[in-house]
Symmetry: D2
Subunit: 404 residues, 4 copies
């Protein structure tokens, strides 16, 4: 008999039919002899809807009131799911974040868990009942209702899995797992049966949309095995766990891509110590997240510095660059939003020389120019023109033998 | 400076525009130097919507989960109203029923207040803040969330008015007060500037739709002055208070009507002691609410007993009557759903003989036959054919000088 | 037997209960022997909701698609109202704007009626049926679905009243009529039994929120008698019709106010012919709606020009002013958004000298300074500090004998 | 360059994010050089919601008004999708069923297409535009708006594919294709790359939930190739086409199950000609759909007849049975709702003897008793106790080599 945490996202419980289907699955899991703890998000887009309502009502939105408002969403979902479970003969009790023992700091809207005392959850389990917990909720040390932020239900689930010593933590969503590439771009992409925490973190950092990065970080830290799977097809999905050193590792597991960044180039920068440091310090102080950086070889004492930033930070980054350019006598600042990034990820890259060469050769072969490169131990990312991004993803997926 | 309780019903806060308009009114009241405590219902028809969702999801709906679900409604409204107040520069804090100190019994869905400890509400007032309380909510002695039932927000407001010693309790709604007759039937009906608790209770009992009877009973018991008024036109409405013995009283203040009852007649009942008592005891045991009763004079040792019951109880009443008729040898049971009841209400009737005669003459004059009559100290009700009900209401409204 | 047009706004049909209540009223009107044509808006805030959805979905919103989208709202309301009428035994048919014969130009989003051929409406009436028409809809000369704009249901109703020769046109809303002042500011304001087209147009132009000005203009042009009344209390409201020369007219009928405008002052303007003309021509070209204008007496060859504009146009007005100030050598441009306007309206002002003097004396008496003045034959408007606006409205309401 | 019909169901366009994601996919398909015609259902559960509203409003719901009401749903979805396409630079026009040329009979609520004249759709395609058609809509020969019924969007798509000579018809939904068994019961089930029309029809008839049977029948009749796939993961799904006689066929392709039926047994029936015929004629006249039938060997001149009916028809079936039992002198009628049906489907069964034997042996091996059996050329169905249904499905899935 296992203890399983099952977390259901908004689309999984978007309407009465879906809630009943979820209840059916929870009941089946319990009937097969498992202890089940359920974590549930607000129905469908209800959290967005509540935030929108708040914006329509007022330009001033105190955090305490926003959290009071937003937590109404999970409250509905968890009570309804309990009713659906009762109608299947499964005794279930709903618990708010506060009742489930999630003590947080007072950072309304994005509260951090400071302590977890799930006594009522344990009591319910001991009585053979299914506890259904509102995700992303807590109560602050000042006794106010708090919200853990978007994607916080995953965190609630992972934290409970850790605290209760669960055997696994299932994150149900509207996709059937993690794919070796985005199937819209690469129809021959395949669902991965398993992926390591490190690989998945690199993947979510470079464009893979789910699950939320924060919960994967928690799961890695606490060693909580995740199972990312679909609440629509219910087929087995992708297991996420520690890398297993005894297994032979695929050199490349997945190809990801994103178009969320833009490139900024400061040209004609005097090639003196400290100039680049000053640029990136000022960007950091301006809350601009710099990702990739490339500096050209100095040419007659001047050089070009290029870097990428999220598109929403582009305007701010250019302003900071222009201000600095004036002071340090640089030639100018240009920007380019028409780029895309393709990344290959694989735990086996650590022990496989020559991967980068294959990347370069593959892209060159297709006439695709690489504008910037960055690497980690298990990832190689290349910036290319956005127009050829789709081709680049497909070519690399084929080159590394990932096609179905 | 006065302390005012302002309660806003669902239509008053149905959407963001309405919430802002309500906030504007609360802010104006505070700006005029009053302390204000706000009680708010769920937005629009949200409570109905939540109940409907529960019915769609499950045939089994434990009270604990229903109350967890339904209380999400006021939670949204109160948080949004607080935000709207903040945007007008009014500091406001939302409180759930539990936070506001409403301790109830454990009768989920229709909980009764057993104690009220509004310390946090008092503290907020002392700091010059506007407390906004979710209506109809509490926490049970077993520490579960409870709901006071439909119309419970009025009760929350009256209870707070009593506990805080408020100067008045304003019940905002979508009508502009209490009328001397239903303006749909009698366009020349007028809004009453004031009405006594006793009169209003008789009126609500005989068809006047608002406010909820239970809250009027509480207000009478605790001597809380009510002001029933519109959150749409904002004009002054109807004051409800103790009868003032020094004032000259109108003999008749209002004419009400309803078509919610049906008539049952058990004919040919042996005229023996205890037969009627047995009939009405069995109806009471069958949870049938009998309202008016008429027994004909005995004719050759048998008599007819007629009584009215709510239409939804009609079928059950007839069954009980038929079962008994067999046992006691009565001739049969007939029923008639095509009746209406017209009532005149007025505190001055107590000291004015001849009112009934005027009623009978007025109806007779219009050729309207009276089928049943019942009276209280301040009310006379007549059952007539439903087809002539509208005529009866208009004729009595004119006869007693109530036309504008 | 009369032919009555009954138009129900969004709040009147916001939910199933309201739709049934409206159907009940329509059925009663028909039962009393009238022919009824119903015009219905979208339920509650549905039009806003649809527009919001469109904004969430796309930054590009072609007019043809917007009108296809928005007209879904009235379609729902009209079909549901027909069902409710059928359940009361009243035969009713819903008609889209196209089916009802509203031919419009192709100005999507704000189409103008170019022809009205209500044959199907007439046929339904002839068969004793109640036609229920979707408000604010038409079909363009290019055969696309069109929308007449916000408040267009009133226009639909007035146009049908004219085309069908209706005896009256009832505009049902959530307030109980037109008031002699805003009851929020002046609780002793009273509902006006009647008002002339001219007075009501002046009132809506100076802050009275309902009904929509455009429909009043149509009604005046076509001589359609309006009855503005409540779909919540159903009491008789305010009749709007031609001024009756035989009646003695109240000198002042109502006091209105608004805070929607801001004041702009161009100071130190050279006092030369054509300068002011140029300023206001450029403002007109910049689509700034100038309302009141005051020019100081020239002082040493320079003068100050002040004018009011809607607050949403303020920024643009100041820019235009500043550009011009540079060219013509004016001293500068200042603006002030902290103003309010109070207006008194009355058809009897035309024949009553001394009204302005009473206004000035009344405000002076309360220590209220008048910053700008504008008048029409039946209106006097004064700009005052927004902080004293409420006092000004109340003082004038009392001074002209309007208190209940 | 291909002509592709893409049909998106309600969950695929449930909210603005989803509509944008769908637009992105349509745009990508067009960008790859295809002509695309889109068919779209109402957003999420909106059709259910509209029907629910109608039920709340009225007990009388004329078909003409219901269809006017319901078609508002697709109207919204198609207009919003067009806007989203425009924002991606794709010119698109929405068309109602009427505008797209769907002429139907006058059977409101479940209208049949009598003619399809898609001239405006063809014109839009010829101009390089993407036509977006509201699914399940038409206009009747009496010029009223009609609805094709639930699941009618699939029919709209297939009919357009046929009329326009499309290369394929993609049905996007929330599951990723057709599975060899329900993954909830058999986690090792696999998505089928392809399936024949005949197999899929047998599957949907015996419990496979999607796509709607009616559209598969149309597709088979017209030879329209279907591609059932996910609008969430966008991975390639299941192709549905004519059986290819040259291919080697799997003996068994899928295992389906359902618990929607109940068993009725009429016992002690006199074993005379015509008795059974009379029973089933009366059931047919009572609109009871009989599915499987088993008659025991006669025992002393009497026999037992068992048959299955949908659970919602059970009560009616028992009544009919009991009435007849009296007349013909049968012993009695019993019913049993606690049954389940497992079916194996495979085009290869036609040429493979011994399949039934394998079924029986497999179930016997697991101690599962078979209560009734029915077969077609490509299907064998067995009724078993509902408690062992899950085991039966799993055992047969394994026995016929379908496990991944």
């Amino acid at each position: 008999m296992a203890l399983v945490i099952q977390k259901f996202g908004g689309t999984s419980v978007a309407d009465p039919d879906r809630i009943r289907e979820v209840a059916d699955h929870v009941a089946r899991t319990a009937r097969h002899g498992n202890d089940v703890v359920v974590v549930v998000s607000a129905m469908g887009k209800e959290t967005d809807e509540l935030i929108r309502l708040a914006h329509e009502v007022s330009g001033v939105r105190p955090g305490r009131e926003m959290d009071m408002l937003i937590t109404a969403g999970e409250r509905k979902a968890m009570a309804l799911l309990c009713m659906a479970l009762h109608s299947l003969g499964v005794e279930a009790d709903s618990f708010t974040g506060s009742q489930a023992g999630f003590i947080t700091d007072t950072a309304h809207g994005n509260a951090k868990i400071v302590e977890l005392r799930p006594e009522r959850v344990k009591d319910a389990l001991a009585e053979g009942r299914v506890p259904v917990i509102g995700g992303s909720q807590g109560v602050s040390t000042a006794r106010d209702v708090t919200f853990l932020g978007r994607g916080g239900s995953d965190t609630t689930a992972v934290a409970l899995a850790h605290a209760l010593g669960a055997d696994s933590c299932e994150l149900y969503t509207d996709v059937s797992g993690v794919f070796s590439a985005d199937p819209r771009l690469v129809p021959r992409a395949r669902r991965m049966a398993e992926v390591s925490f490190d690989e998945l973190l690199e993947m979510t950092a470079t464009g893979c949309p789910k699950p939320a990065m924060r919960s994967v970080e928690y799961a890695r830290r606490w060693g909580v095995k995740l199972h990312v799977r679909s609440a629509f097809t219910w087929e087995p999905g992708t297991w996420v766990h520690e890398e297993d050193p005894s297994m032979e590792q695929a050199i490349v597991s997945a190809v990801t891509h994103d178009v969320s960044e833009a490139k900024v180039t400061v040209s004609g920068v005097p090639d003196q110590p400290g100039i680049a440091a000053r640029l990136f310090r000022e960007l950091a102080e301006g809350a601009v997240n710099v990702d990739m950086i490339v500096q050209n070889v100095s040419d007659h004492g001047v050089t070009d510095i290029s870097f990428t930033v999220p598109k929403e930070d582009l305007r701010r980054a250019v302003e900071i660059g222009e201000n600095l350019a004036g002071e340090i006598g640089a030639a100018g600042v240009t920007s380019d939003a028409d780029i895309g990034r393709v990344s290959i990820i694989g735990a086996g890259m650590k022990s496989s020389p020559g991967v980068a060469a294959t990347v370069f050769a593959t892209l060159a072969n297709d006439g695709i120019n690489i504008e910037m490169i960055s690497t980690s131990a298990i990832r190689i990312s290349c910036v290319v023109r956005s127009q050829v991004l789709e081709d680049a993803v497909g070519a690399l997926h084929t080159a590394f033998g990932l096609d179905v």
